[in-house]
Amino acid sequence: MIDALIDRLRALRLRVMTTLRPERAWSDLDEEMRFHIQMEADRLKREGFSPKDARRRAMIRFGGVHRYQVQTREVRGTQLGEDTMQDIKYAFRMILKNPGFSAVAILTLALGIGANASIYTVVEAVLLEPLPFHEPDALTLLWTKNDEQNQEKYMVSPMDFDDWRQMNATFESMAGFWPTTGTVTEVEGNPTRVRVVYTTENFFSLLGAAQVLGRTFASDDGPGSAIVAVLSHGFWQRRFGGDPAIVGQTLTLDGNPIEIIGVLRAEHALPDGTDVWLNMTWTMQIQSRYARWMSAIGRLKPDQELSAARADMIGVAARVEQENPDSNRGWTVTVQSLHAEMVGDTRTALLVLLGATGLILLIACANVANLLLSRSEVRAKEMAVRVAFGAGRGRLVRQLVTESLLLAGFGAALGLGIAHLGVRALLGLAPTTLPAATDITLDGTVLGVVASVSLLTGILFGLAPIARLLRSEVHSTIRDGARSTVGAKGHRVQNAFVVAQFAMALMLVVGAGLLVQSFENLRKIDAGFTSAGVVTVELDLSQAVAPSDMEVIDFYEQFERRIAELPGVLAVGDASTLPLGTELDYEQTIHFVDREIDRELDPRAYLRPISPGFFAAMRTPIVAGRDFTSADRVDAPGVVLINEAFANQFFTNEDPVGEKIGDMRMRFGPLGAIHVTGAISESEIVGVVSDIKYAGLRSDARPALYFSGLQSSVRRRTIAIRSASASGPLVSAVRQELAAMNPTVALTDIQTLDEVMAGAQSRDRFSTLLLSLFGIVALLLASVGVYGVLSYAVAQRRGEVGIRMALGADAGAVRAMVLGDGARLVFTGIGVGLVAAAALSGLLSSQLFGVNPREPMIYAGVTITLIVVGLVASYVPAWRATRVSPVTAMRAE
């Protein structure tokens, strides 16, 4: 037995070697034939022929060297090929002979492969793909952390940062960076708002980021050096058309000329979306420890773990706190890997999707397995007959494998198409916050893995008829086969598959149901404003445009007055922070002039300057007191509005209107991005406004204070314009007004509030849509599964049914019998699925809003749906069973 196997393997090796290195085989053959003719000629010479004659006769007896070389070559290599061709032809015939079976198997595989490959590609690209930097695992982000102030990831002051990098023992290096914005202009104006990031000079070398042109920052670009600019690849392309001579040219940023020293590689842009990087030319020590505005990134030493770095940095922060008890009380450090931070909360959503596709693949494989197993009942007969006619078993195995491979091949090809469309569709639907979404293309490895799993399923279960044959005696199979008795074991396996399919389908549909309910809840959330009919635009006034705080206030007031006069405009107002936006919202400790804040209350609130028209434009109702008016200017008394959350937090049963908030001028960043002008030291609460959601639809509104925009000098504001006219003409009219006031100011981030709302819902919409789609696919596949199994069972029991009906059983009883078989499978599957869904739905809870993961109504609804689908799928074969004419059925015996 073993010897025979070795012989087969040796033959296989020979075939492979002949295919791989044919020239060697042919030269061997030449030598062999030459030897033969020589031997024959020698023999003839010994018999007395002349050497010349002997050679001639030897050649004649050989019968033509070339002819036999050609014949031998045909033997080599093509023996396998010929059989394969035969197998493929036969397989094609089999596929065409059972178009229904083939179509279902191919479609099932295609869906399984397509869905999995596309989802997995996206998940891998986002979750598993390493960042494009040098040894990215060593990159970490660092924040300050203050439990008292409820700050988990806060900025760091440059002085603290300087201490961190001096005192730590676990980091190879640390770099600071500060994302902000600026306006780039040209000689003729043409202003563009850009995302600017100031970095310490070691930022790029720490990342291992490289340039496509020029250079990045070097060690002599540190404090005291001239400011220079590195452009992002995208900005270089957009603004300069990819000018290869850009290095050495001057960039005018906020009115200052800056030398361009290089262009960064596209994939190395960090933070994502940055247009220009500038070196920090100031020293860290001139800053205050209170001014926490810088971000920090570090590279761990080669042998250091994240946990060690955490412990190290907490120690460092404790020492800094000891030395600076005033500024650093309660401040410690959060250390997180860059990758984990970038992937963020996309992780759960994507893992849920991945799990769902895994289930789909399992269902699809179960379906294919089931179809093939069902067919094996029929095929076993055919196989036995072929063995009886002398077909080798090995040959039959090969033929079945060819069939399965062909089926799977079609499935895979179709799946590839689906996967391609799938990835594109996913990216089209994907929330814009999906990291690196634009770089995702179909992953070959992923496709390979998924296709292999499906192929393997096909091959494994495609061989079932042979397995059957090897177990049984050929003669008995043929004899019994004619009567089509069903091996109880085969049926058990198929039934188990159907049960598993229904269980998995139930889990998916329950998941989808929960997400749909959650999404409905989310849509019903009152964000605190009416989004329809509002366009928002953003402006940032540089020092060149408006040197003083008063000029900033005047500019916005004048501009908004111009907008208000445009036809169709109903209301207009500005705000420093747009609701549901991703911009920074500033939170700060507050105090009242005439009252103490209860120690248990968190004495902090978000500070948001808004102009008098803002709430009117947003249609956010004032619930008490009054709105700001154009009289609430710098020369008037300080006034603030509070939101309802603020009122509830600090004034349980009292009227907040008339209370005063103490001095709280804000200083953020080296340019003092937000502050109330210096003359105002205390502000009276003049009204209470309804809550607006800022940090996303799911989050509750937090206490907030609104300042009068006419009393604050924020340079960067979003203007909300409520209008009865279409947004397109409105925006161009607004642009004209701006150009008339100052042609160097850029209008950016133009969007409607509806778009902002849609953006806030996009991730939920994405997962909901996908999981619903999966639920439908799963239901479809599961019903095909139960339909297939019952159909075959009915086909096999045709004789039995025929006899029963001949003996007087009525159609209803027969239908009930088949239906009963189906119902048993469906109910068992649903039962298993309910238990599994209840156990696993907790994993979804972070994705759900206002829905209990075990919401009985949803479970009940899904159960009923599945029962209906399962029974409909069972009814068709049941109905067909009763259509059997007893005569035909019994003749088939």
Binding site: D3, E31, E32, F35, M39, Y68, Q71, T72, R76
Partner: protein, 111 residues
């Protein structure tokens, strides 16, 4: 001439090669040719070259295997021998041949 020489039936060459190698000694192609002719008392006249496609076919099936060696007159030659698989096949084929030839004999005798 042709009346005393029989053309080989399709497929019988394989059986003859297996039979020749069944003796046990590894043989080169020419040796096989000579042996077949000897054993058939020159009744079977085959183009010696036709052995080679057959030898290679059998080798590809794993029924025989080959090895380069040195011939009796000290030349490099390829030697063939039967494998375990080939031995089994030989038994099968011989049996089938017996059945076949008996059947044909019977029919012819009946005629």
């Amino acid at each position: 001439m042709t009346s005393t020489r029989t053309d080989l039936l399709q497929g019988t060459l394989d059986l003859l090669i297996l039979k020749t190698l069944h003796v046990g000694e590894p043989m080169h192609g020419w040796g096989v040719a000579v042996r077949i002719q000897q054993l058939s008392d020159d009744a079977l006249q085959l183009n010696q070259g036709s052995l080679y496609p057959a030898l290679h076919r059998l080798e590809h099936k794993g029924w025989i295997r080959s090895e380069w060696g040195t011939s009796e007159n000290n030349r490099r030659a390829k030697f063939y021998r039967l494998t375990t698989l080939g031995r089994r096949q030989f038994a099968d084929q011989q049996e089938q041949w017996d059945l076949f030839s008996t059947a044909v004999d019977r029919i012819l005798a009946a005629g």
